[in-house]
Amino acid sequence: MTTDEAVCRRQVSGDAFDACHVARLSFEPRYFAAVAIVLASTLAPPLASQLGAVIEAPAVVALQPRPFSYRLAGEFTRDGRPLSAPLRIAQLDRTLTIMIHQVTVADYERCVRDRGCLRIPHDSSDQPVVKVNWQDATAYAAWLSRQLGAAYRLPTDEEWAFAAGSRFSVDEFPDGAVDPGRRMLQLYEFEIDRGAPFDAAPRAIGGFGANENGIFDFAGNVWEWTDTCYVHHASRATGAETAIANCGVRVVEGRHRTYMSDFIRDPRTGGCAVGKPPLNLGFRLVRA
């Protein structure tokens, strides 16, 4: 995590957002020329010989920008009443080069052995690494970037949605009733109905199959961290509008979108929190 990122995480005011924004711009190196969908191993062969380490570049696909349907991330309210997030046609501003698999236990363990990542107890090495928080994921990205001499990072929410394609859920809680009690009940029913039909035990990599972009395990039982901050967009009937970001909370994507504090490793909640939490937290990276 860069210093700028740290600053951005600590603050929740609108000004802090610019800090996030600046941090991101300085972090992103130039992008690679647009290529049709190609396996990245052909683009970036193993660098073991150069680095003296047995680290292979992760398998990726390169996706060319084209318009896609995207539900904006964050919470939207009008006069305090929840609105469904606006649905937009979006287009990425560059080619997206993204890992076709989630980062595995074996991948993560290499980073741990190299003292780039915190040790977290795990089971099977061919499974996606889970019980990782946003900080673990960014530490892994920084380590992998150093190893391979290329910039890897978590995808933004737009990038995740574009890559997930048909597995990106645009379902959103419909505009709530005015009556606060009615609204609570609606949200409760909505959350109950969208519980995942899987059990929580992670499957071996590829266990949930590939989507139309040849990318595996989107929207299975492992949700993925994104780099996008939580934002509350508040509007008033008067036309006044505010957007307040809290970068201590990141967008997590999977069967449904959710928001998690960046230090959470186990998304399980009981208690008064309403709604189904993600079953597991893992991640995949994009190459800038």
């Binding site: 009690g181 009615r182 609570m184 409760y188 901050c229 307040i244 008064c272």
Partner: protein, 387 residues
């Protein structure tokens, strides 16, 4: 205790032998119990108890005379899943549910319970009724081996909600209780519930929330262990129990038993009686967004109920009762206000309450938004949008 140990060490072969030996005696025992009951010459009523959180239909007050109310409790030893991660134990239950069913009678009635321990079970069980007087609450008269049954009758002389639980002796007592063997008897005053001035109190619904603490052993990696049989897990479980730190504190046998699709329901204006039991450990019920209008914290109806409580205390080994009229719709969390136990260990229920919102009781004057003048922050993005 002795029976328990033999069932234990010989993997149930002893129990099966006792079944054969005692089988011939059972009809005699049953008929003698029936004969004694007949001597009372009171009307009888047979009740089919319901699995918690529901309670069998009953009168809240009665003008009729005392009767003999018959219940039957069948001990079911079964695997019970405690959470969404699939952690499970070999539970011991009354009628298959954790907690066991609530049994409702009126003061002066006789409670007549047939306790059945099917031959397929591995352990001896009994039942100690906190509402009963003498013989260890009936525990001393009801120890049944697998394949046996017994009938106990006691007079309901005191009003209130009272725990019943298995207590077969020694280490078996806490082990059977934290394996699920407890429930509640509710003895209502014949004239029904009253406030401190003697004015009648009624409820439209009654729910039974039974809180349980579970102690599941973990392996070296910290994962919950499961065992081939209850006996196999006994030593490890006892070790966790003796440290007094439960791995699960839950309502009605598992995390989420009373949330989501299983949430309790009510309507604005309805009055709900919530009976809360914990056979082994203290608890602190609290209704988030609501109150206890009338609370019998110690659960005994001859004492005046306290009013307007925020949180009440359930002493381990007792049950309490709280009466609340919902005034606002929405979702309420009913939990133990040790919030670590409620949120992390599972002791949370939810009420779904339908009805019109009351703006006078609560209104959102200013929704959450930026402090001071309007701030417009543009979320960082890697995409362009068609608006």
């Amino acid at each position: 205790m002795i029976t328990e140990k033999s069932a234990f060490t010989e993997n149930g072969s002893m129990s099966r032998r006792s079944v054969v030996l005692l089988g011939a005696l059972l009809p005699t025992l049953c008929s003698s119990a029936a004969a004694m009951a007949d001597e009372l010459d009171l009307p009888r009523e047979r009740i089919a108890p319901m699995a918690p959180p529901f309670v069998h239909p009953h009168e809240q007050s009665t003008s009729k005379g005392p009767k003999i109310v018959e219940f039957s409790l069948t001990v079911e030893e079964k695997r019970l899943t405690l959470d969404d991660q699939g952690t499970s134990i070999h539970a011991m239950t009354f009628n298959g549910s954790v907690p066991g069913p609530m049994m409702v009678v009126h003061e002066g009635d006789y409670v007549e319970v047939t306790l059945i321990n099917p031959g397929t079970n591995s352990f001896a069980h009994n039942v100690d009724f906190h509402a009963a007087t003498g013989a260890l609450g009936g525990g001393a008269l009801t120890l049944v081996n697998p394949g046996e049954q017994t009938v106990l009758r006691f007079k309901a002389t005191r009003t209130g909600v009272f725990i019943y639980h298995c207590a077969p002796g020694g280490d078996m007592i806490p082990w059977h209780v934290v394996s699920g063997m407890s429930g509640v008897v509710m003895v209502l005053p014949r004239k029904g519930l009253t406030d401190r001035n003697g004015n009648p109190l009624h409820y439209d619904r009654v729910y039974y929330v039974g809180e349980n603490d579970f102690y599941v052993p973990r392996d070296e990696k910290g994962k919950f262990k499961s065992y081939a049989s209850a006996a196999d897990g006994y030593a490890d479980t006892m070790e966790v129990m003796r440290k007094l730190v439960p791995t699960h504190v839950v309502f009605n046998g598992r995390v989420g038993a009373l949330t989501g699709k299983n949430a309790l329901t009510a309507r604005v204006g309805e009055t709900v009686l919530i009976v809360h039991s914990e056979a082994n450990r203290d608890s602190r019920p609290h209704m988030i967004g609501g109150h206890g209008d009338y609370v019998w914290e110690t659960g005994k109806f001859s004492n005046p109920p306290e009013t307007d409580l925020e949180t009440w205390f359930i002493r381990g080994g007792s049950a309490g009762a709280a009466l609340y009229t919902f005034r606002q719709p929405g979702i309420y969390a009913y939990l133990t206000h040790n919030l670590i136990e409620a949120v992390e260990l599972g002791a949370t229920a939810q009420f779904k309450v339908e009805g019109p919102w009351n703006d006078d009781l609560m209104t959102q004057v200013e929704p959450p938004e930026a402090i001071g003048t309007q701030v417009r922050a543009v979320p960082r993005t890697t995409a362009q949008y068609d608006h």
